[in-house]
């Protein structure tokens, strides 16, 4: 599920400066920071999906155990 989400794909580097002006160099720094934000967003998504899978699996196991539990006198 996580593999199919595409969130594990590498985050590419920002396009390099197109000229030698201070503005372009500074804009590159900001672009690269944006890529860092994307990488961290992907990582957060993967972490959240992992937690969701773990939680759902634990809940399913717990529910299955509850439903298959032997009942005292067939009631409790």
């Amino acid at each position: 599920m996580i593999e199919a989400s595409g969130l594990l794909e590498p985050t590419t580097g920002a396009p390099r400066p197109q000229n030698d002006t201070v503005g372009e160099i500074a804009a590159f720094a900001d672009r690269q920071t944006g890529q860092l934000d994307k990488a961290n967003t992907d990582k957060g998504g993967v972490k959240r999906m992992g937690s969701i899978c773990d939680d759902r699996q634990a809940a399913a196991l717990k529910e299955a155990q509850r439903r298959t539990r032997k009942k005292v006198l067939g009631v409790f």
């Binding site: 996580i2 002006t21 201070v22 500074a26 944006g34 959240r48 899978c53 399913a60 298959t68």
Partner: protein, 149 residues
């Protein structure tokens, strides 16, 4: 010499038959008891397996739905990040002195980026990496490639 006639008691055949019948009946009863004893357990085991499978399937479905929602949220965040980048780009390039040239800094930045995994495969990085290994082509001894592409 005449041998005495050997005759089995008449009751022996009946006894054998009766014994066989008793064994068959006992075996049948035993098999029935075993069947009666095991049947509920097998049924309970099958029921338990079915419930576990059912819950696992339900859990997987819920997890898939939640995962899809997560991917959607991540994509929305990526769109927001790109929008911020575009806005920042405009602000930075509109700032005073943004047009000031800094060729030395740009060249150093170019070479520095070439040493990063993200950019090493760029065609114009070959010379920089070659220089780093001492294999650079002639004319690039200063370790710098052109600042602009």
């Amino acid at each position: 010499m005449k041998l005495p006639k050997l005759t089995l008691p008449r009751t022996t055949g009946w006894r054998l038959a009766l014994t066989a019948i008793i064994i068959v009946v006992a075996w049948t009863i035993l098999a029935a008891i075993v069947q009666w004893w095991n049947a509920p357990r097998e049924a309970a085991q099958q029921r338990g397996e079915a419930i576990t499978q059912q819950e696992a399937t339900k859990g997987t479905g819920e997890a898939a739905q939640a995962a899809l929602q997560t991917v959607t949220e991540v994509r929305r965040e990526i769109v927001r990040i790109d929008a911020t980048t575009r806005r920042n780009d405009h602000a930075i390039k509109s700032a005073a002195d943004a047009g000031t040239r800094a060729p030395g800094v740009a060249a150093a930045l170019h070479d520095s980026l070439c040493r990063r995994a993200s950019y090493q495969r760029e065609p114009d990085c070959a010379a920089v990496l070659g220089n780093d290994r001492g294999l650079g082509p002639a004319g690039t001894d200063d370790g710098r490639a052109p600042a602009t592409e």
